[in-house]
Symmetry: C2
Subunit: 282 residues, 2 copies
């Protein structure tokens, strides 16, 4: 694993870093294909939104791009992670007046998932751990992720690829590491991300692609009855792209409700998953 900390090839940070002590930071997990970070500007925009919300100075865009490209230029297929913390200093929770953020870029290999998950779909489950509601922390990819960790620990079954999480009033918001869409004929429905959850880069990308291809895309609260009524579900994130859902607990779904050829077409330029690299007759 290649790591740059504030531009230097290191892999250690101070034990006083506020990221370690309070989760006082933000991150982005970015697909790398053909030597380049994909959907860069969208990731940068979300990172900047997070910095504004948390009042952490935003990293200089050209510097970040140069460091990213330095790590990824010889990488055909991988994952770039950017982690920005508020750095050291302050008294307890109160930060220093002029924080000097810690900037960590690291290059990772792609996680290995079964390739049939992209084609034949995945099994998912409902989680018991709820997502708490706080508009000021919604949308952004901050490093307070205990709820997702606890939700992901609920199942040890390696064949269950993801879990869906509810807010405290019972609406379904997202997966532990993905956003989700319901499919009903040529309509996609995905929950709004105003009070909890992360506004996925792949979520927004798919929404735009679908609209360009004549699909109706709605952001609506999703109740359990909506999950039951949908003909299809799929989950998205920047690294996997799209996984169609085969089953949610005991309920079965049509994994081709969003047709395979469209999933391939929409993702072909921006991911190097089995969906885009396996020949069409697989």
């Amino acid at each position: 694993m290649l790591v740059l900390i504030n531009g230097s090839p290191e892999h250690l940070v101070s034990s006083s870093d506020r990221g370690l002590n309070y989760g006082d930071g933000l991150f982005e997990t970015i697909a790398v294909a053909n030597g380049k970070p994909q959907l860069w500007q969208s990731h940068l925009d979300r990172l900047n939104l997070g910095c504004q919300r948390l009042q952490i100075p935003t990293p200089e865009p050209q510097l970040l791009w140069n460091e990213a490209l330095g790590l990824t230029q010889h990488c055909n297929c991988g994952v770039l992670k950017i982690l920005i913390t508020r750095g050291i200093g302050g008294r307890g929770y109160t930060p220093a007046y002029n924080p000097k953020p810690t900037r960590i870029l690291s290059l990772h290999s792609q996680p290995q998932y079964p390739s049939h998950w992209w084609i034949q779909g995945i099994k998912i489950r409902t989680c018991n751990t709820i997502l708490s509601t706080n508009p000021i922390l919604a949308k952004i990819k901050h490093t307070n992720r205990l709820e997702q960790i606890l939700a992901s620990m609920e199942s040890k079954d390696p064949n269950t690829a993801e879990g869906l999480m509810q807010n405290i009033t019972g609406q379904w918001i997202c997966g532990t590491k993905t956003n989700f869409f319901l499919v009903q004929s040529k309509r996609l429905i995905t929950p709004p991300i105003n009070n909890c959850g992360i506004i996925g880069i792949m979520r927004n990308y798919i929404m735009a692609k679908a609209r360009n291809h004549g699909w109706q895309v709605l952001e609506c609260p999703v109740e359990t009855s909506d999950l039951m009524r949908a003909s299809g579900i799929f989950v998205t994130n920047s690294i996997i792209g799209i996984w169609p859902v085969q089953s949610l607990d005991s309920r079965q779904y049509d994994t081709d409700a969003l047709p395979l050829n469209l999933r391939r077409l929409w993702l072909q330029d921006i991911t190097c998953t089995p969906l885009t690299t396996i020949a069409c007759d697989d």
Copy 2:
């Protein structure tokens, strides 16, 4: 600052540590007086509760005590911090099956606050940042602290010592770094910590002391009208002990609603704040 990481005098941790990446950890901030960590067993109990909730292996108690005492034995007055993270490993949010926690103990000098805050009381304010509700994360001192950070950043006024935080339904839960009590004749009222907030070690200690001295102590939800009705308010944490409240926004309070001699008496053995070290006629 003295630091021990997994028993070794170091001050650097891996940039892959889950504490840094996801806030996947717990901490304790413990008063040191006369060479010893104070209220040790209470802190250890809360740390263990946190480890159980997050499914992080609990540190071995004797090892932790030995390391703590090694750091504090020559310290007359200070702060011991224990930080336990889940360490390195796992895939994204999902932890490794057998995590090897990172154990960081560090000794700090006492924060310098004006000594009159203990005697004449403090000015506090109400915060706009809310505390989100999630029973699984309530009580424990985990390292997902962005809400407290954002709340503490709302005011730059060095004369405002603390801010009170509400949950989403408008009940007052705690300060950004303290618990609080309302005083009404010989009755103390403090909010329950079941759905959000941290169950303070000093909070529990004061509740027990007060009951022993014939005070009635109630855990009840606190609405704004209760704040307005109280004759006194005080805030507590392990490091400061007790600060009486002079004013909350524009509302004034009787800083001696919990009498000074009782505050001194209750705290004399366990803190080395100005309250317990300044002569009684100050």
